[in-house]
Symmetry: C3
Subunit: 265 residues, 3 copies
Amino acid sequence: MKLALLDELREKNPIAYNISNFVTVQDLCNAVNAIGASPAAAGGAEETGEAEDLTKICSSLTVNLGAFVDPRIDNIDTIMGFANQYQKPIILDPVAVGASPARKKRAEALLDRHPVAVIRGNAGEIAALAGADWQAKGIDAGEGSADPVAIAKDLANQRHCVVVESGKTDIITNGSVVVKVYNETDLFKLHVGSGDMLSSIIGCFCGITTDYFEAAQVATGIFSTTGELVAKTVKATQPSAFAASLIDDLSWIDVATIEKQIRFD
Amino acid sequence: MKLALLDELREKNPIAYNISNFVTVQDLCNAVNAIGASPAAAGGAEETGEAEDLTKICSSLTVNLGAFVDPRIDNIDTIMGFANQYQKPIILDPVAVGASPARKKRAEALLDRHPVAVIRGNAGEIAALAGADWQAKGIDAGEGSADPVAIAKDLANQRHCVVVESGKTDIITNGSVVVKVYNETDLFKLHVGSGDMLSSIIGCFCGITTDYFEAAQVATGIFSTTGELVAKTVKATQPSAFAASLIDDLSWIDVATIEKQIRFD
Amino acid sequence: MKLALLDELREKNPIAYNISNFVTVQDLCNAVNAIGASPAAAGGAEETGEAEDLTKICSSLTVNLGAFVDPRIDNIDTIMGFANQYQKPIILDPVAVGASPARKKRAEALLDRHPVAVIRGNAGEIAALAGADWQAKGIDAGEGSADPVAIAKDLANQRHCVVVESGKTDIITNGSVVVKVYNETDLFKLHVGSGDMLSSIIGCFCGITTDYFEAAQVATGIFSTTGELVAKTVKATQPSAFAASLIDDLSWIDVATIEKQIRFD
C-alpha cells in the first residue's frame, strides 16, 4: 500500500467536489480539509453552469445518495455526466439502497449511465447493488448469509470499478485482487456519518492518482487506522468526542504513524 | 413513569424516520443513534416511492417544521399520509409557528388533515397552535400571560393527541392528566437544536409502544435528566461542550441513573 | 472601535435572519446564539409569506451564497427585496464567487438589484466581485498580485457598502477609511465555516446600529480576537476542538477581555 500518497495529497491539495447529504456535510468538509484537500460541497443544488464550473476545477467528484436536498436525480445525473466528460473520477456512496427499492432503482439508473471509479458502502448497500441475498436495516448494514468478499468482487466486476465495503473488516477490491484492512472501532458505527467521511476521503485520493484501487486502499487504511487510534483516547460511550478527535487527528496523522499501526493483507 | 422502556428501546432498535430541519439534523441523528434507535433522515426531500418504502420499514415518523429544504409542504403532507396509512405514529415539532402567521397556517393545515400522536414545542409554539395569547420571539419561547398547563391541555384536547411543552419545567399531557418534569439546565436553550433532539427522541419511544403518553413522558424524563447531569460536568458558558457530552451520555445513560435523578410529579 | 456594542447586543437580543448554506448552518446558529442574538435560519427555503413574516420581525438579514438548498436564486432575490422594503440591513457572503463564473454572475445580479450594508468575503471572493486580478482556489482565498486594501476599497465604492475582507489581517473599509484587525489563528482556515460565522455575527451587530462600518469593525474585532484567544488553549492540529471552544467562548467573551487583546489600527 503506497501510504506516501498522503504526503502527495497534502502537497497537491486537490479540490474535492462533493454532492453530499445534508445530514453529515459539515463533517465531510472538515475531514476533507483536515486530510489535506480542499472541499467544494454544493450538494447537487447548483445550477448547470455552476456545476460545470466546479467540475472543471475539481480533481474528483464524490456523490453521496444519502439525503439530497431535493428529488434532484436529474441534476445529479447531469453533474455525473460533466465528471465523465471532463475525466474526473466519480466515487459513489449508495446510502441506504438496501432499505428502499425505490432508492436502489435510482442508484442503479445512475450507475447504468455513468462509469464510476469507486463504489463505497456498507455490507447491506454493496449487497443490494450486487443483487445478493441480504437484509439491510435502514441506514445500517444489517445481516445476510452471502460471503461479503464474493459480493464485493461481484459488484466490482459488474460495474468495472473498485468496490470498498467498509465494516469491522474493510474489503477493497478491483474485482480480482482483494485487500482487507483490519483496523476498527465500534465508535465508527455509533457516530452517524463515518462512512460518508470515508467516501469523501477516498474521493480526495482519487484526485491525485489514476490508480483508483491504490487510492481506495490508502484512503481506507488511513481512515480506519486513525479511527482506531482515536478510539484509544476516548471511552466507548463518547461518539461525539470520537468524531471531533477523528477530524482533529486526520489533520496531523502521518505516514510513519499509520505504518506502525495499520493491519492489512 | 415506565423508565424500563429505555431497555426495551435498545433491545428493539426501532427505525426512527425523521423529516428534519437541515440546521440540526446531524445532532438529531446522533442523538437517535445514541439512545438506541436507528435514524432515517431524508428530510422530506425523498420521492414518493422512497417515502413509502421508508414509512413501511420505520416504527415512527417525526416531522420537524423548522427549516425544510424546500417549500415542500405537499411532500410532507404526502409522507404524513403514508404514516397514517401504515399506522405509524407521527410526532410533530411545529418550530417557530409563533413567529410567522404563514408558518402557523401551514402547520395547522397539516394537523387538520393528519392525526398525530404527539406535538412537542416550546411555550410560544404550543400557545400559537392552541390559539392562546402569547408573544413568541423568533425561534425562542417568548412570554405570555396565559397558564402554560391550561394551554397544553387545550391543544391536546383540540388535536386529540399528547402535548409536550418543554422548558424549565416540561409539561406532558394527554388533555386530562398532566405530568411535569423538573430537571433542567439553561444550556438546553443556549444550544440550538435541543428541542429538535427531544422531539426525535420522543419519536424513538413512540416506535416501541402504542401508549404515546407514556412514551412522551419517558423520553422527556430521560432527556431532561441526562441534560441536567451533563450540565454538572461543564461550565454554564460551554454550549458546544454540553451538546457533545449530551449525545455521548445518551449513549450510556441507564434506568438506574435516571431513577436516582429524575424529579417529576 | 465601540466595543461596548457587545453589551448593547446582548441587552437587545436582536433576531438575526439568516439565509445560510446547509454546510455550516448549525455552527452559524450556535455562534449567533452565543454572541447574544436570536437566530432564524430558514435557508432561503421559506415560502414568500413566511419570508415576509420573518423579515418584518428580524433586525438584519445575512445572505450566504455558499450551498443553498436549491437553485433558488429567485427566492433569495425576493427575500432581499423584502429586506430592502422593510429597511433591514443585508450582509452578503459571496462564497466561492472566485471559483465559478456562473456563481459570480448570480451574486452580481443580486447586488445590482439590492443595495446591501456589508459584503464579507475572503481575498479571492472580494477580488472577484471587484473585478481584480486574482486566482481563487475553490472555496479558498487563493492568491493574486493586486493590493488587498485597494481591492476592498474599490468594491466598497462600487457597491456603496462596507466591505470586510477577512484573512490573516482583516480589512474593514467603507471605501475611504480602512481599519485593520491583526488578531488571527491558522485554525480559522482549518475549520470549514469560520468565515460564514463571521458574516452572521456581522449581521447581529448590524441589527442594533445603523452605523454598519462600526458594526462590521466591532464584529470582526470580537470574532478574530476570540479566535486568537481560543487558539492558545488548543493545539494547531485541533480544528474541531477549536470550533467547539470558539462557540463556547463567544458566549462569555466580554468587552474588557477583548480590549486587552485586540490589535488594530
